[in-house]
């Protein structure tokens, strides 16, 4: 969505600079004058929260790398050195470790928001796929970061995840040895993971740049899922409206984040990772970090090595095809009564899959996991395509302005977060 930036450099120097590198104008058109749909709710603040979390992880991570050493015999001790010796090392490490979880909490809310409001539909397919790529890169980064403290969960997590590739027929073992740089997870593995853990966040930052570019080109979706018809009637300028609202949401999110850092810093981690890596003994019950649990449950629910691995990767890959699997022309679940119910069923299934991933894979839990896994794929591959054909959507408002005015006539709960000036 072109912002009709009104930016005119004032001074002579600013004009001279702008005619050579129009960066101030770019910032002005994308973060100040950029038109924001006036009906956005607080679900739309998670993009800004995620950008903040990326910066937070890079800054705290660069600092940790100043004190960390990727060398198998000392890495565990170096992390304790950070915790005990380095000034505020405990704080910076807890920011980084819990920051990863916060990043995933925010990204899951962001993804589910996109699913609920149909943000993946034309013309936002590329925007959505870039998001799926960011999510994949985040998972790779988080996984490799978790290996670096070189505790028991680090070591055995790395062993299990790299062994996924041994399921590939014929070349599996060769690939796994290539990933390890040896015959088992060891010092070469740790070193390359550290290098890649440092690299990938900058690749994420690059794809985030494309994601925002694509977003600003097609314009934001909104809770009513209707296109912007008139910039004057349907939108407000990004600054101050979105800037202040995003900042407020970020502060609330930071309070939540701080509660973890200062009160329950190890709640989301696993205590076994405070035992140094031992290649000769696997912990009794190994689980990945919470944000991987649904996929872990899918992996374990298939009673076949290659099948489990394929199902797990397919569970992520299917997201990229969402724009074409959902056949409905109506974007927002607000106007899709049946989809709305199926959406919530899916959300509950995803959370239950996560719970199942944390339980030992045996008996009843395994059967429940299999049913949930089947439903996960049925939702994408059967329900979504058919819903678009059979569902009868409610009438969609003609414009964002109409939707907002209808709402403000309707009842007392008007001003909420997305209050535009017309509600005065």
């Amino acid at each position: 969505m072109e912002g009709h930036s009104t930016y005119q450099p004032k001074g002579k120097v600013a004009q001279w600079f702008e005619s050579r590198l129009p960066i101030v104008g770019l910032i002005h058109s994308s973060a100040i004058a950029y038109p924001v749909p006036k009906n956005l709710n607080y679900m739309w603040t998670f993009g800004a929260i995620l950008s903040f979390m990326l910066v937070c992880q890079i800054v705290s991570g660069v600092v940790l790398a100043m004190h960390y050493v990727a060398y198998a015999p000392v890495s565990f001790a170096r992390v304790e050195h950070i915790m005990r010796d380095v000034n505020y090392g405990w704080l910076i490490r807890y920011i980084h470790a819990n920051g990863a979880s916060m990043f995933f909490i925010a990204v899951y809310i962001h993804i589910f928001r996109g699913m609920y409001y149909g943000s993946y539909k034309a013309p936002r397919e590329v925007l959505w796929i870039l998001g799926v790529i960011i999510y994949l890169l985040m998972m790779a980064t988080a996984f490799m970061g978790y290996v670096l403290p070189w505790g028991q969960m680090s070591f055995w997590g790395a062993t299990v995840i790299t062994n996924l590739f041994s399921a590939i027929p014929w070349v599996g073992n060769t690939i796994v040895q290539w990933l390890w740089g040896g015959y088992s997870v060891g010092d070469p593995t740790l070193n390359r993971f550290f290098s890649l853990h440092y690299l990938l966040p900058f690749m994420i930052a690059g794809v985030v740049g494309l994601h925002i570019w694509a977003l600003h080109h097609v314009g934001q979706n909104n809770p009513d899922g209707v296109d912007i018809k008139s910039v004057a009637k349907d939108t407000v300028p990004f600054t101050p409206y979105a800037t202040i609202k995003d900042t407020f949401a970020m502060v609330v999110f930071l309070i939540f984040f701080s509660w973890f850092i200062f009160y329950i810093p190890n709640y989301l981690g696993h205590s076994d990772n405070y035992i140094p890596a031992n290649p000769l003994s696997t912990p009794a019950h190994i689980v990945p970090e919470w944000y991987f649990l649904p996929f872990y449950a899918i992996l374990r629910s298939i009673p076949d090595k290659l099948g489990g691995v394929l199902a797990m990767f397919a569970a992520i890959a299917v997201l990229a095809f969402l724009p074409w699997l959902d056949t409905s022309k109506v974007r927002s679940a607000k106007y899709r009564p049946l989809f709305r119910q199926f959406f919530w069923v899916f959300a509950v299934v995803a959370v239950l899959l996560g719970y199942m991933g944390s339980q030992p894979a045996e008996g009843g839990a395994l059967i429940v996991s299999r049913i949930l896994t089947a439903y996960y794929f049925i939702h994408f591959l059967v329900i979504l395509p058919l819903l678009g054909l059979f569902e009868r959507p409610k009438p969609v408002p003609a414009s964002i302005a109409d939707a907002v005015l209808a709402k403000s006539k309707g009842g007392a709960v008007v001003v909420a977060g997305a209050a535009g000036p017309e509600t005065k």
Partner: protein, 187 residues
């Protein structure tokens, strides 16, 4: 201050619609900004402080040296806080040449007695870093048989005082004390 904003909150600003008076909104802006600035500064501090020497470095800030194996005429180099420390067991001739040097000959005038512990003038303990640009000088070299810096040619005498070359100051003295007749603790 944007006038139209004032009407959104409508609580306390009804009486004033002019932009040149102080409103409740102005106060809230400044108060919020101030809290934000304090918060940002508080958050920046750990990220600055983490660059300072950590507890494991501070734990290495003293070094104990046994002097008994050091023969007369020998210079031994030990490490303290990562820096070389020269411990010179001076011969009577070296002490004499250091004591007899008139202060007027010195670029950074300091008597030899100010550079050793009283009654222990055979022991000279100096930081082995040239005061010019930080190289480590070579012992028993140079015109005064003290130290000679190979980088830019500064010459020090047997008391570690600068005599020739670009260095501005005498070799620095580390803080140290004798715990017994043959033992010192540096730092």
């Amino acid at each position: 201050m944007r006038r139209d904003d004032n009407t959104i909150g409508d609580c306390a600003v009804a009486h004033t619609e002019t932009s040149d008076t102080t409103t409740r909104r102005d106060f809230l802006y400044i108060a919020t900004g101030a809290v934000g600035a304090v918060g940002a500064a508080a958050m920046a501090w750990p990220f600055i402080s983490q660059l300072q020497p950590d507890a494991s470095v501070l734990a290495l800030s003293t070094t104990e040296v046994d002097l008994s194996p050091i023969a007369e005429g020998q210079i031994v180099t030990v490490q303290w806080r990562g820096k070389p420390i020269f411990i010179s067991h001076r011969t009577p001739a070296e002490i004499k040449s250091a004591v007899d040097t008139p202060l007027s000959d010195l670029k950074d005038p300091q008597p030899d007695s100010a550079r050793v512990k009283a009654g222990k003038d055979q022991w000279l303990v100096v930081i082995g870093i040239c005061t010019h640009l930080g190289c480590v000088p070579l012992g028993h070299q140079g015109q005064y048989n003290g130290w000679f810096c190979p980088c830019h040619g500064s010459v020090y005498d047997t008391s570690g005082r600068i005599r020739q070359g670009p260095a501005p100051l005498n070799l620095e003295l580390p803080p140290y004390a004798f715990t017994t007749d043959t033992k010192i603790v540096i730092g």
